[in-house]
């Protein structure tokens, strides 16, 4: 069976006044119907990797790769128009902050329905039913009322549930979740992630979870890639994260505070250990 996603030597660059700067420098991985986590600090290129897969990097940004296959078809050679049937319908992305990622002047219901209507023509009534079912699936009580609300009228946690509903309603095979909980309160973070996890596992989808939170990724993913300044520095099973060998990963792990610890000072990353400067 071909893997869902095969990426080989993915590079993303942007022009600056000092010439082109590569933000992703040759990332390779494959993803089946499993949960893969990408962790790294801000600017490590993890979000850019996610967006490059959906071909969302717009000019003047540039994406190159030796291989970028989704379910046996080449992504790189597709035109913008040819990407459209894939986007949403086969691979989808949950964005970071529902405050900014939902259109402020469209009702929640209309935005969810649009995700279906972009790919198939469904009669009005059947569409409304499907939206209601999807809202129920993301644990929204009173889905009919919520469907008529505007994004500014819902809370952050509810907004992110709406986002999940919108991205999963066309039943895609691959979901990219780009920091899906970093804009939410800690108390709702776990609820939202449990929900994503449940829907992914039940539907047999692939998940690419992008986060800066090592613990969170270790808990919700099968495998983990650790990225630093555009490169994958470590790749391991989630269960073996504690046995990571790269000094960057070790440094990150050591910097996680524990509730029962007695350390007065948290260690600082010693970047000279891997960058060689």
């Amino acid at each position: 069976m071909t893997p869902l996603l095969e990426i080989e030597n993915l590079r993303v660059s942007f022009p600056t006044t000092q010439g082109r700067i590569e933000v992703v420098k040759g990332v390779s991985f494959t993803l089946g119907r499993e949960r893969l986590g990408i962790v790294g600090e801000s600017g490590s290129g993890k979000s850019m990797t996610g967006r490059a897969i959906l071909r969302l990097i717009r000019s003047p940004g540039e994406v190159t790769a030796e291989r970028m296959m989704f379910d046996g078809t080449d992504l790189l050679s597709r035109s913008e128009r040819a990407m459209r049937p894939l986007r949403g319908a086969r691979m989808s992305m949950i964005m970071q902050d529902p405050k900014f990622s939902l259109n402020p002047v469209m009702t929640v219901g209309a935005q969810i329905a649009e995700a279906v209507r972009a790919h198939e023509s469904v009669p009005r009534r059947a569409l409304a039913n499907r939206v209601r079912e999807m809202l129920e699936a993301v644990r929204i009580n009173d889905p009919d009322r919520v469907a008529r609300m505007y994004p500014h009228e819902v809370s952050g946690g509810m907004g992110q549930r709406v986002m999940i509903a919108m991205m999963l309603i066309p039943r895609p095979d691959l979901l990219i979740a780009d920091e899906p909980t970093s804009a939410l309160d800690v108390s709702v973070q776990a609820q939202v992630l449990d929900l994503i996890d449940e829907l992914i596992v039940n539907n047999g989808m692939g998940l690419l979870l992008i986060s800066h939170d090592l613990n969170l990724v270790a808990r919700y993913c099968d495998r983990i890639l650790v990225m630093n300044s555009g490169e994958v520095v470590e790749s391991c099973d989630a269960a073996d994260l504690h046995a990571a060998t790269h000094p960057y990963t070790r440094g990150l792990l050591a910097a996680i505070p524990r509730i029962d610890e007695t350390r007065d000072v948290l260690p600082v990353l010693d970047r000279s250990a891997w960058s060689g400067t």
């Binding site: 459209r84 900014f100 939902l102 259109n103 402020p104 002047v105 995700a115 919108m166």
Partner: protein
Amino acid sequence: MPIDFRSRDGILRFFRVLTGFVLTIALTFLGLLAITFFIGRVVPIDPVLAVVGDRATQEQYDAMKIAMGLDRPLILQFVSYVGDVVQGDLGRSVSTNRLVAEDLARVFPATLEMATIGIIIGVGLGVPMGVTAAAHQGSWLDQGIRVLALLGYSVPAFWLGLVGLALFYASLGWVSGPGRVDIFYDGVVDPVTGLLLVDSILAGDWEVFRNALSHLVLPAAILGFFSLAYIARMTRSFMLDQLGQEYITTARVKGVSEWRVIWVHAFAPIRVPLITVIGLSYAGLLEGSVMIETVFSWPGIGNYLTVALLNADMNAVLGATLIIGAVFIGINKTSDVLYRVLDPRST
């Protein structure tokens, strides 16, 4: 929050909102009246002198001053002025020797007609141009539209008017020359609304309609070009702002067509700021462009106000200022109502 007309509370709320609305308009208008009135009295122009001329004797002068009511305290003058205005009496113009209200009923529709056609051209072309430029940022299309908009900002109105007349009227003969209508057709249709195009349609006189349109099209197109320049630039910058937002990426992730991304997702949120821009441009056109009205011998309010100012015809100046102020108030209030309709976030 939308008003629910089915409930008693909803209806009460509607009337409360309506009362507040009418009150603000009335207060704003009163403020406008006060400012125009007192400015009219403070300027170093002697309205009495304007009437009697500089060879009148002191007795004639004093008699006229009392007849005009100018010997009374300012505040009393203001009160009676407000009373007159409310009854539609704006006084008599010294230069035309007609009632100012009658004069305005004649000149304002001329400007209204030209400005309305102008703003329709400006919006009809400017908005799509701005959106297209933003959607193709950096392309030759964008550059072309930006140059056109820059021209609209920098070309003087009178020059464009003269060149337009020389080319389209004198050389090519595509349009009619200055004035609202050929003398032959002047006064043929009854002035019901004062808008020649509308009046000729009402009278069913298509010959007059065609002639009036051929007179109107060039000055209106030039006005339209100026508002187009402004509207296209503003639309472009609003759109660029929207196209950088996260929810545009969301729409693309869903696989929505690019046309829908631009015209539904990015355009819908800019309608509110766009209404402000369009409203202000329209109000600016309704003030009457003195340059265009002069070049095209257009008997509009810009021309009327300029002549009145030069003749120290204070009643006419105040009357015209009031009309322009009322237009601004009207357009602002209309924009307010449209905001509420178009933006779910406003209450």
